[in-house]
Symmetry: C3
């Protein structure tokens, strides 16, 4: 017999010290269902939708089917922005429709539904939809009420993922889409993008005035302090300084450009 | 059949990086009972009893009956300060009697008991009562030994909640009792205080040299950057800057005064 | 009937905001086994193996037998450093062999095994062994495959614990091995070291130009602001400032020396 436990993960910019994330967990823990509540983070930088959007792809695909991922980075709470449930890869994503699921949408076909707040039967404050809308919406799913049976489907969702620019068949302009905790620079180019060519060819990167040849498979192929390009653990092209902080060293941040040249035989 | 799981929440100023909160969780996880351990925060500012007191009211009332809330902000550990268990709203609160439950005490009738450390049967260090007293006291309750059967009741507990001052029937001096993670200023005046009058009247707030008219129901009633008064998600009067930080903008902090004038027809 | 739940604790330097710790939790939560995942900390200072090594002894011995403790402070990931499983006190420790278990090794006989990555049957990235090696290694143990049956035993592990220096029978040079969240200075001298003499004698500490006489049993034996020596909650000699920060006050940090003189009758 398999487990009947439901998994709900939480990603917010609430911090923990006001007890707001604790309130959401109370709503979930109070259910009669057996729910495993998993804190991903409550330390997303305040209102930083992009940071949350990137974090999501690092964890959600390691969760089992039927997992529910709640994301509350919600500067527009109380405005007209929609609350949505997204179904993708047999998992559920709940949060505001403000672009926080931009990276997720690239990972396969999905359906999006607009949460009907009235159907939740709870008092809804104007400032705390994590507690009053998104956690109750998760409970609905756990009770067996599928979004497709409960809410209207919507066709347009907000996404800000920016594809790399193709200047020619071998020249691309990439952008830094994320700087992680270790100062690694994540670029909008994936291993799948590269492998989509029958003969992928050799990669040359130009980062400001520096050139980097080839993608290494482990950090230890270079000396401590050196700059190195690898595929990150989610498949994105990543610039790192071995045992250092590439973002600080190169003065590079989100939005900065990197030139990619692919040399084919 | 309902769940037989016990819920224990933890709020401390331990940080996480020394493993002290981890030790408390080990004591709870080692029990034969099925306990859902919920981290509220271990990042309360060191020794900041007021911050913890405020955080509590944001989450505890969203937990189901019989939940146990452990709070360890304990600058007086090893002194004569008492360890207590409080019963209120069919929930249990465990921690030092140093005012950390000040806000909770306003939410209904309660009984307080002084923990008899000898009855716990554990070695008790002089510096770590979270692990040696409060977590074991939670296990006692989970084993079915009610505080009323185990410890002496005490009549006086420490509370620092300060009521607003009433200058006249329509003039009040409020104080900032908390500044949250988003810079919102929380005042010692609640929606219930206001609604206790048969005709509540219109609210005018004077914050330094600024005047604010009326309580809005959602942030989106004002423009980005504007100051707005709302009832916060726990019912307190709250001054915010829409998509900004009111505390920084107004140079206001805990203890600062706000004048409230109620205009009745 | 006892619980059949398995306990897995996590200690990392990942931060939470990139979702990397969340990925590890997904691997564990996806198991058919009933696993209680316990976050100890993801805020160990980046690459600070010593901080993690010290944190471990504060919590692991409060966990029940068969608990699994995963530790990922792993600056050498992708290099030749080994991944290991350590059995000690009927518990399991999983992480890189880089000294992170130095303090643990002093707590009793242990066996260490080198994780055979190929036996895990997972794709292993070069940068994220927490997700691809250490979490799957925990699942193997939970499935009942003991390290002794799965991996080769290794005889040498890396440890950096430095014993105090004995200048004479009554003079010792101790070192600060850790500064905790509260600024307490932890020294490499334990209550057991002291009690190993038949007549332990009186302790005199010289910290720079200050002298401290005797070990107190509670903070409240001194006035607020005073310096005090106690045995910490794990048995180490500890220098604190009552309601203050000893590290700041004394300008002392990890590696600094304290002279200990034991006066025997």
């Amino acid at each position: 017999m398999g487990k009947t436990k439901s998994i709900v993960t939480l990603l917010t910019d609430f911090g923990t010290e006001d007890g707001y994330a604790g309130a959401m967990k109370g709503i979930l823990a109070g259910s009669q269902a057996d729910i495993q509540i998993i804190d991903i983070s409550h330390n997303i930088e305040r209102f930083n939708i992009r940071q949350a959007a990137f974090a999501l792809i690092n964890y959600v695909f390691h969760y089992p089917p039927k997992s529910i991922h709640i994301v509350v980075i919600d500067p527009g709470v109380g405005s007209e922005r929609k609350g949505i449930v997204v179904e993708l890869s047999d998992q559920f994503f709940i949060g505001p429709d403000n672009g926080v699921f931009s990276f997720i949408y690239r990972h396969g076909p999905f359906k999006a539904y607009e949460i009907d707040e009235k159907s939740l039967g709870t008092h809804i404050s104007s400032t705390f939809h994590g507690r009053d809308v998104f956690a109750p919406a998760a409970l609905k799913i756990i009770e067996g009420k599928l979004p497709s049976q409960t809410y209207p489907e919507i066709k347009n969702v907000i996404s800000f993922y920016e594809n790399y620019e193709e200047e020619s068949e071998s020249d691309y302009i990439l952008k830094v889409i994320h700087v992680d905790h270790f100062g690694n620079l994540i670029l909008n180019y994936t291993r799948s993008d590269w492998e989509s060519f029958s003969s992928p060819g050799n990669i040359k990167l130009q980062i400001k005035h520096c050139f980097l040849y080839g993608i290494k498979s482990t950090f230890s192929e270079v000396e401590e302090g050196q700059i190195i390009a690898t595929w990150d653990s989610s498949g994105f092209l990543q610039i790192s300084q071995y045992r250092g902080n590439a973002s600080h060293l190169l003065h590079m941040n989100v939005g900065d450009e990197v030139h990619l040249k692919i040399e084919r035989p």
